[in-house]
């Protein structure tokens, strides 16, 4: 199962509003470029949130009681990226943008 999400500075700002952070790496493009990135970075937990949405689509509300998600953030996500999140039948989780995987990990149900 897979689903696509489009990331913009607006979606980053919206996540930042509920996240309650002021980390300028998400909002100040000049600072992010000084750090060697091509723009501001999407919050890792926002992209992980996308994976949770897909996990509920896949596992139903068992996800609320027995869901387990483990991720490594391997590449940043920037405004303008389209992120494709995929969970396969074995629970392997991959989120990718045009440059390759941005998140790798698993999204599985524990035994009841």
């Amino acid at each position: 199962m897979q689903r696509q999400f489009t990331v913009t500075q607006e979606t980053i700002d919206r996540y930042g509003a509920i996240n309650g952070d002021r980390d300028i790496i998400h909002y100040d493009a000049d600072y992010a470029k000084e750090r060697g990135f091509r723009g501001t970075l999407a919050h890792g937990l926002m992209v992980q949130g996308y994976a949770n949405v897909l996990a509920v689509d896949l596992y139903g509300t068992s996800w609320m009681d027995r869901g387990e998600i483990e991720v490594k953030f391997v590449r940043p996500v920037f405004p303008g990226d389209t992120v494709t999140v995929e969970i396969d039948d074995a629970g392997k989780l991959t989120a990718s943008n045009q440059d390759g995987p941005v998140i790798v990990g698993t999204a599985k149900l524990r035994s009841a």
């Binding site: 999400f5 509920i18 996240n19 937990l45 992980q48 949770n52 949405v53 609320m64």
Partner: protein, 149 residues
């Protein structure tokens, strides 16, 4: 309602914690907050989930990762953040639903698990547990982030 910004020390507000100041196995103090239907809805909209919640045993429940915006508050209350932190990895284990219709009071705590340096980056790993006020476990998490020197 407890918005994450109500309880989370934010970057630039106070001096950020230096890597050397993290104490391995240090307990992160209890943090109480209330997840309201408004928070559930706003979080859902931010991750493109159904803002109405999900049908579960006759009631509407939240996407369980609604806890995610509160995760770093468990650490930052004791170890305020430096600017430029980047997440390296995360684990979330969910153990019970959170209502999308009524307020849910959460009690969180945690501890520093390890600190290490790898390829010139400095990492801090900590665990967090989220329980109801009755002590029922709702979720556990382990986060690893890297902060600039």
């Amino acid at each position: 309602m407890t918005r994450p910004s109500d309880i989370k020390p934010r970057e630039g507000e106070v001096r950020g914690t230096k890597f050397e100041e993290y104490v391995i196995h240090d307990a992160l103090p209890e943090l109480r907050f209330t997840i309201t239907p408004d928070v559930v809805r706003e979080y859902a909209e931010a991750v493109e989930a159904d803002p109405a919640g999900y049908e579960h045993e006759g009631s509407k429940v939240a996407l369980p990762s609604v806890l995610a915006p509160y995760l770093m508050a468990v650490l930052y209350r004791k170890y305020p953040p430096a600017q430029g932190g980047i997440m390296a990895s995360n684990v979330f284990r969910f153990h019970g639903p959170i209502s999308a219709e009524t307020d849910t009071e959460i009690v969180a705590d945690g501890r520093i698990e390890e600190t290490y340096e790898k390829r010139g980056r400095r990492y801090v790993s900590y665990s967090a547990r989220f329980r109801t006020t009755d002590g029922d476990l709702i979720a556990e998490a382990v986060n690893t982030s890297t902060f600039p020197s």
